[in-house]
Structure formats: C-alpha cells, structure tokens
C-alpha cells in the first residue's frame, strides 16, 4: 500500500466541500477581472494604435484590429526624432541612479540599523521627515544647488539629486534590522570588518529587498518628467519622457507615431517589472516583518 494515493473511500469528503471551492478560481477573480480590464484598456489601445495607419488611428469608434501591422511607424519615430539618443540618456541616468541608490541606501540603512552612534535615531527621524515634503517644495532649492554645481542641462544634473533617497534608506534599514544579528556577530568574530559584514553577509541575504528598491528607483527615475523638464533644455540631453513631449508637440496629429514612441518608452519598465515582480511583491510583503 502506498500513502501517495488517496484512499478512494475518503473521496466523498471532497464533494462535501463548500460549493465555491469547486470553481477552478478564487471567488475574488470575478471581482478583480473587470477592474484589471479597465486598467488594461488604455495599454491595449496604445499597443494597437502603434501598429495602425494614421487613418485607422483617427477613426471612431476605435479600430481594435488593424488591417495590417505598420512596423513602419516605429522606424518613422526613430528617424524623426533623436529617439535613440534619448533612450541612451534615460538608460544612463536610470542605471546610475539605481546603482547609487542600492549602494548608498545600503550603507546608510546598515549604519542606521546596526551601528550605534550619537544622535542616530534623531537623524533617522529627520531623514524620514523629508519623505513627507513634496518634491515641488524642494524643487527650487535643489535646482539652485545643481546650478551652483554647474550641472544644469547635463545628465549629471539629473543624476545628482537622485543618488540616494530617504525611502531607500528607510526600506533597507527596516529589512536589515529583521536579519538575525548573530549572523553579523559570527562574521565579525570570524574576522570580517563592518563593511565586510555588510557586503558578504547582509547584502547577499537582502536580495528581495534590493530588487524592490532597484525596481522602484528604476520606475521613478525612468518615468520622471518634472525634474528633467526644469533641468534640461537641449534636445541632446533629454530623457525619453521629456523628449516624448517635444515629439508630441510636433506630431499632434499623428497618433499612431505617438503611440509607437510611447510603446518604446514603456517597454523597458514593463519588461523589468515582469522580471522582478516576484521579488517586488515579496519585498513589499516582508519589509518590516521577519526576513
């Protein structure tokens, strides 16, 4: 006899389960599905329009199945605007911001989590307070600082204010505090320095939360429009979001080209989100709880 197979005599018990359990989906799905659809419609419309001809794009009610796939739209966009330049700029700014946020927020978060120093908690509260100040309030002072640094209209001007953020410091500190401190003590006895403990023990155990911070920083920086708008004015230094608006101005009428440009802007975020969503969700769920 094997225990792997259920005893046939027991099977009637399964039929007695509540009726809803017999659906192959959760009772939440019928509620969530329409909401998901509403959210998806603009997305689908963008994808469809980006492959349509200009006349199809303008028709109402909207054409949901284009007569032919117009790859040409994408080529037109690439030829018409310094799109590749903007893409590269966005990539540089975002990569630098993500990398520096991961590094500096780790260092600061670890110090706030584990190293006792005078005024630690007060400084940490101050950092948290900055989370409550809207960007519009600090925009002008930050602009003046960046100007002083001579970084207006450069990619450096976009990167500098985003090197580290209060949110990242907070997120990582909370996570680091949830790790068992004995691991770090064992490593210190084993001969590791503080910085060694951070890089060899703490960070390798912080994959999910680092992924979370990385994705959040990526999306924030990639989609940021306001700061590039006031810092950058030459076309060569624009990021995708900023470039897209100038493109919009010139192609008010060509909805299909506009949507093709939008597609190219959104795609990296989408890909990243799908790749990292496992960590993203788990990171949010475990932050502050035991790691």
């Amino acid at each position: 006899m094997t225990n792997l197979h259920p005893d046939p005599a027991r099977e009637p018990a399964q039929i007695e389960l509540p009726a809803e359990r017999r659906f192959p989906f959760s009772p939440w799905h019928p509620v969530l599905l329409p909401i998901a659809l509403v959210m998806l419609i603009p997305m689908i419309w963008m994808v469809v329009t980006s492959f349509e001809t200009i006349s199809e794009a303008r028709r109402f009610p909207p054409v949901l199945v284009p007569s032919s796939i117009q790859w040409q739209n994408y080529l037109d966009v690439l030829q018409d605007a310094p799109f590749i330049r903007w893409f590269i700029n966005s990539t540089i700014v975002t990569t630098a911001s993500v990398a520096s946020n991961l590094l500096f927020c780790s260092l600061a978060g670890y110090a706030f989590a584990r190293i006792p120093f005078f005024g630690r908690d007060a400084v940490f509260v101050l950092i948290l307070v900055t989370l409550m100040v809207p960007f519009q309030v600090v925009m002008i002072p930050v602009f003046l600082i960046v100007k002083q640094a001579g970084l207006i209209d450069t990619l450096g001007g976009l990167i500098l204010p985003n090197l580290a953020g209060a949110f990242g410091v907070f997120l990582l500190r909370q996570f680091f505090r949830s790790l068992p401190v004995e691991l770090e003590e064992a490593a210190m006895i084993d001969g590791a320095s503080r910085i060694g403990v951070l890089f060899k023990i703490v960070l390798p155990l912080s994959g999910p939360v680092l992924a979370t911070l990385g994705v959040i920083t990526f999306m924030w920086t990639w989609n940021d429009f306001l700061w590039p708008l006031i810092t950058i004015y030459s076309s060569d230094n624009m990021t995708l979001q900023l470039g897209l608006t100038t493109f919009q101005g010139r192609h008010q009428a060509s909805t299909n080209l506009l949507m093709a440009a939008n597609m190219m802007t959104v795609l990296p975020t989408l890909i990243l989100f799908f790749l990292a969503q496992r960590y993203f969700i788990r990171g949010i769920a475990t932050t502050g709880l035991k790691g």
Partner: protein
C-alpha cells in the same frame, strides 16, 4: 591557547540594569569552564564580553597576557558557537567553514586542508556542498562547531550550544564536546542553564545569579558543598530539599526532623538534604517522616514526591512560580531510591539521613553554616 581572566568586570546596560556585577574569574589554559545560572543571570553577557560583542562598563578582561577591552572581536583570536548556530544561510557548509580562514587571508591550499580535516573530525564530509537550510538540527550544530574549530582559536566560546537539540542528540553531542576538548585542549568557556551539562562537561563550574558569581569550583565540589542556598537549590536535579528550621544550642530542628550539629549558631536556619541522601529503615539516624503523594518510576531509579511537617524554604533558583507538588502548610520532599523499592501514594515513610549529608544554611544570609564533610 590562552588563559582568560575577568578582573572586577561590571556590565551595566542602559536603564541601569546591571547584567554582570563585579565579576572576577580566571580560566586556566586548556580548561573547560562552565558558566551556569538561570536565564538573566549575566552568564551570556559575560561570554559576549570575552568575544568583544559587548563592552565592559568597568574592569578588565584578559585573554592570554593582553587586556582586550578595546580589541575588536576579529583580533581576539576567539571562536564562538551561538545558541541558534548563526550559520550563513547563503553559503554552503564548505563556505561556512572556510569563511573565517578566507577573511584571514589563509592560502587556498591551507583552507582546503583545514576544512577537510575539521569536516572529517565532525563527520561533515558528505555535507560540504549543502546549505544550512538543507541540514538537520544536529548537522547544523556540528557545522557551527566546525566553523569555530577550523580557525584553531586560542579560546572557544559556546553559548548554550545544545539547547536547540532534542534530548537524545544532546546527550550524544555532550559526549562529543567532551571528546573534542580532550583531543584539542583548547581553553573553552561554555554557557548553559542546564545543570546536567554543567556537571558533566566542566573541569570547573562558575555558578552565577543576578550578575554575581555565587560559587566557583569542580562540579562535584559545588554539588557536595554549596556555599549558599541559591547554589544548593540550583545545582542538582531534582533539587535539594529545603525546609525551614531552628538551631538552638547545637540542635537543629525542622518539623519532625531533629539532629545534633554542635557549633551551629542559634537562630533561624534552612535545612537541606539531597534527594539521594535519604535511606530507608535506619532508625538510628535522624529521621524525617514523609507522606508520599506521587511516585515516578524512571527505570533506573524511583523518584518519590511527598510532604513532611514543616515549611518549605526558597533558594531563589526555582523556576518561576511553579506550584509545589505539596499543598497546604507542609514542606515538599523529594527522595530518590533504587528501582527495587516499592512505594504507594499515601504511604508514610520514615527516611533517615546521615548527619554529615545534611546541609544547614543561615536563613537570613543564605550562607552555608559549617559545611558537612560529604554530600
């Protein structure tokens, strides 16, 4: 290998809680020293101060000839096994073992040789490629030991290393620890609240309570001659029977129990008798009359719980407010006999005690009065 010494060491945590209070203690080179006491007695704090994980508030800590108060953990040349093992979860067993050596820039061939040596000594060779999550409790425990041993430290610190193991494994690892210490001869300081571990493992044991050292000595010595009520109540399982009494002109009386002990100062006393010191059918000895309430046959011995006239005394080492088996105004008495004896609940026993196996303590100070010659 090295001596370790506490020299009037005090540790005060914030909010004025004194964890360790003026501790002076010397651990000889190669000695197996046990710090034992109930939880919160300061034993783990003392151990962490040797490791450098806590800073002493006052006093000096020496490893070898050097005062190490200001030396960071990694330069103290000590190794520690934590209660929860603290294995690095993202590393294989091999990397866990090799971590300390690599941090110290040991040549690769040497790392390999020593990891292999230690993993053979602790039968970990098969497990080197696994991660801690894939190991059983006993295996994790051995890896934690291996990680400490592989560095060949001067001092070996263990913080309740067996408390997370089931009873059978604990007995096995206890023997293993003793064997390893005999083989390597590293100065070892071992923290536990388990007095069986304390009795079996240590060359000497240091009994601590409320941050203070209560008694220091060879395990049998401490067992036979507890210097105060706390040590008497803490060391020994089942614990020593303690009954309130009076001393008057060299006569000690506690309930129906009466004996001559010349030289005992007059006043309130506590009379202590170990469970195994009682004998049956010896009317020539001082006798205590006990009514049996519960009989526990353990196979190799029988434990009898009963009550006697008198009132129980507290040693301060009791588990938190456990209700005593005896009820009412009588004193609980526990006695241990070999398994051939037969007892019934409700039965009355007259238990004799050799006078030199009776401990008498001053009721007020808790100090032992004229310690008897043998337990």
């Amino acid at each position: 290998m090295a001596r370790v010494a506490f020299d009037h060491v005090t540790k005060v945590f914030a909010a004025d809680s004194v964890a360790v209070d003026d501790l002076s203690l010397e651990v000889d080179d190669g000695e197996f020293m046990i710090l034992v006491g109930p939880s919160g007695c300061g034993k783990t704090t003392a151990l962490r101060m040797i490791a450098g994980l806590e800073k002493a508030t006052a006093g000096r800590i020496r490893i070898g000839d050097a005062v190490v108060n200001q030396v960071p953990p990694r330069d103290r040349d000590i190794a520690m096994v934590f209660q929860n093992y603290a294995l690095y979860p993202h590393m294989t067993v091999y990397d866990n073992l090799a971590f300390g050596l690599r941090e110290r820039k040991t040549p690769k061939a040497e790392v390999q040789r020593r990891v292999r040596e230690v993993s053979e000594m602790l039968s970990l060779a098969e497990l080197l490629k696994r991660r801690p999550a894939q190991l059983s409790g006993g295996q994790r425990q051995r890896v934690a030991m291996g990680r400490a041993l592989v560095r060949e430290p001067k001092v070996f610190l263990l913080d309740e290393p067996l408390s997370n193991l089931d009873a059978k494994l604990r007995v096995q690892m206890r023997a293993e620890l003793k064997r390893l210490h005999g083989q390597l001869g590293i100065t070892t300081i071992y923290v536990t609240h388990d007095q069986v571990e304390a009795m079996t493992l240590g060359d000497r044991i240091a009994v601590m309570s409320a941050g203070r050292l209560q008694q220091l000595g060879a395990p049998q010595d401490v067992y036979d001659h507890p210097v105060n009520l706390f040590v008497a109540g803490f060391i020994g399982s089942p614990p020593m029977n303690l009954v309130r009494g009076r001393a008057d002109g060299g006569r000690v009386v506690a309930g129906t129990f009466e004996m001559q002990r010349p030289g005992t100062p007059d006043g309130e006393v506590v009379v202590g008798v170990r469970p195994e010191a009682f004998v049956l059918g010896r009317e020539d000895l001082p006798v205590i009359e006990v009514v049996i309430e519960v009989v526990e046959p353990l196979g190799d011995e029988i434990i009898v719980h009963g009550t006697a006239e008198g009132s129980a005394a507290r040693s301060g080492a009791e588990e938190d407010d456990l209700p005593p088996i005896a009820s009412g105004s009588r004193a609980p008495i526990t006695a241990r006999f070999d398994p051939t004896a037969r007892f019934q609940p409700g039965q009355r026993l007259r238990l004799g005690v050799e006078p030199d196996r009776v401990h008498v303590f001053d009721a007020r100070s808790g100090l032992a009065l004229a310690a008897p010659a043998a337990g």
